[in-house]
Symmetry: C2
Subunit: 335 residues, 2 copies
DNA sequence: GTGAAAGCGCTAACAA
DNA sequence: TTGTTAGCGCTTTCAC
């Protein structure tokens, strides 16, 4: 008995169905039936098999199963950075939906590098994921063609990619419009916009929303009040604006990292930020934000993907999620 | 030509090495050699193969490869919740180390439920991960035995598990001692401790550090100043202490969520919190914390794991990482 | 209710 | 330098 292990271990150190079959004195196929809970096995036989499984520490080899069946019960997720709360929120939601579908999530961070995104996606495809959720780092998704042709559905999340696929994004444009309008309504005529690099889709959309809001209010768009670039340049840019002749009285920040960067400069001025963040309500004054809902974004993308995986038909969908203005004080300061 | 796809697609909708071999007019093994960059293939032949690969959109089937080789080039990671910045920090670090080792990370959130932890781990084992990093949700890890026997190395992170395995944790005890001593040095004689449920290892260790610090200072340990429980109960507990005869003048909070919960109560008192958090420096006063380093924790665990995967010998190691006190104002307030 | 045989796509071992 | 053969562990098909 205590010997079974040594006798039955296969080359890779794990017992196989064959080993279990031998130990239980049945055929391979019977073990397979028990493991997969197929009907039509004599309860007594099943019992013998189960006890052998227990005794040997048998665990089905998923690779072999996948090889035979073609379905992996896993999906691939490419985000920018798990350590960023916005993306980890998406991750968690995707994970939850996948769990409900009995699926595992392979995920990886692209770090906003198109090469890394591609590498991750292709690795996932090599592992024959059933589908992909991608936060696009680049705009060229030609590399996806063969995978899509092979029947792997893919969904773009947070930004559209370079292919006409299912896409779930936030209403960046409208959200920025709302936030900027909020500042204007509170008496500001010179509102600065600090956004991420304009090459990033969400940043460009939000800038567009800013411009629309300023124009809709009948105010002139002053390009010297607009600065686009990586978050670490936001602080200096704002300081430069303040040093000018006709400084802004309010600022709209284009994402969470830029909001924080501006807060760290210590400039005390009216502001509304895109993206909510923990403790925004505890700062003095509380930081007014245009909030996205990363969990909802992740959920929507995952649900859309699973619908496709299960054969859902039809043209590419584009879902746009609303944003929500949360007034907390900083956006209600008068000039 | 445009026809190749239809002709060569296999049952599962993807071309196989066999298809590529046929298209390139070589043997299967030659394709394998090219795909795996094995030496000794005539450049001209290799060229033909590569072009066939390109044309057919061939991608190696990793499941088949794994089945044959026994190594999956992937590791499993079980954390409590990806959406929590502490754990997503760990995730990111693990991912980075895995990337350097050419490995993929399968990860999942246990939500602090032992059953879910077990389920995730066993799913990962079914997929034949090369190793596991586990933030234990429970203390009974008997279910791991067969997997360990089968040669899958595992590392516990953040907390020890119920088995004598490699473990990487923070100096919870020492960190709490440092933080509490800091408050006492600033004149506080009645320091409250608000910690997570005492059944959680880290919470118990930190409580122990608190007790030691109080005793080392020659002060009496007053149990009415200690409250252990889930973060949502921390605020009420503190309020109750304040309503008492001899309220605390300072509080030490046992983790980040409790720190935030206490901040939200609006009580203005001296405090030091375990765990650093974004914007702690921007609150007024800045929040003094005992900081852990999740990235370092993740990195250490992953490096230890890969050492084991590559056959590193020896008894189970236990690595304890230091914490760091960061004074920002709240911990330096006098009674 | 049970089993034997074939084969998923790949790599390892051994020819040629 | 290239090819042939066997078989990884499982599911599928069909026979008993």
């Amino acid at each position: 008995m205590g010997d079974d292990r040594a006798v039955t271990d296969s080359v890779h150190g794990r017992p196989t169905m064959k080993d279990v079959a031998a130990a239980a004195g049945v055929a391979l196929k019977t073990v397979s039936r028990v493991v997969n809970e197929e009907p039509g096995v004599n309860p007594a036989t099943a019992e013998r098999v189960l006890s052998a499984i227990e005794r040997l520490g048998y665990r089905r080899n998923e690779s072999a199963r996948v090889l035979r069946r073609g379905r992996t019960a896993s999906i691939g997720l490419v985000i920018e950075d798990v350590a960023d709360p916005f993306y980890s929120g998406i991750s968690r939601a995707v994970e939850d939906v996948a769990l409900r579908h009995g699926s595992l999530v392979l995920s990886g961070s692209s770090g906003e590098e198109p090469r890394r995104e591609r590498e991750l996606v292709l690795t996932f495809c090599s592992r024959r994921v059933d589908g992909l959720i991608i936060v696009p780092a680049g705009t060229d998704h030609g590399y996806l063609r063969p995978e899509l042709d092979a029947g792997i559905p893919a969904v773009f999340a947070d930004r559209p990619g370079g292919l006409d696929l299912d896409t779930v994004i936030c209403d960046n444009n409208g959200g920025a419009h709302t936030g900027v309008t909020h500042l204007i309504r509170h008496g500001h005529r010179r509102v600065a916009f600090l956004g991420d690099s304009a090459s990033i889709f969400t940043a460009a959309e939000r800038l567009y929303g800013y411009r629309r809001a300023v124009e809709d209010a009948g105010l002139p768009v002053d390009e010297s009040l607009v600065a686009m670039g990586p978050p670490e340049r936001a602080g200096p840019a704002l300081t430069r604006m303040f040093a000018g002749d006709d400084p802004p009285t309010a600022v709209f920040t284009g994402n969470g990292r830029i909001t924080v960067a501006v807060l760290r400069t210590g400039h005390r001025l009216a502001m509304v930020g895109f993206d909510d963040f923990e403790l925004a309500d505890l700062l003095v004054p509380g930081v007014t934000v245009v909030a996205q809902d990363p969990a909802r974004l992740g959920r929507a993308a995952a649900e859309l993907l699973f619908r496709r995986i299960m054969g859902g038909p039809g043209a590419a969908e584009r879902i746009e999620l609303p944003t929500r203005l949360i007034p907390r004080g900083s956006g209600e300061l008068r000039p």
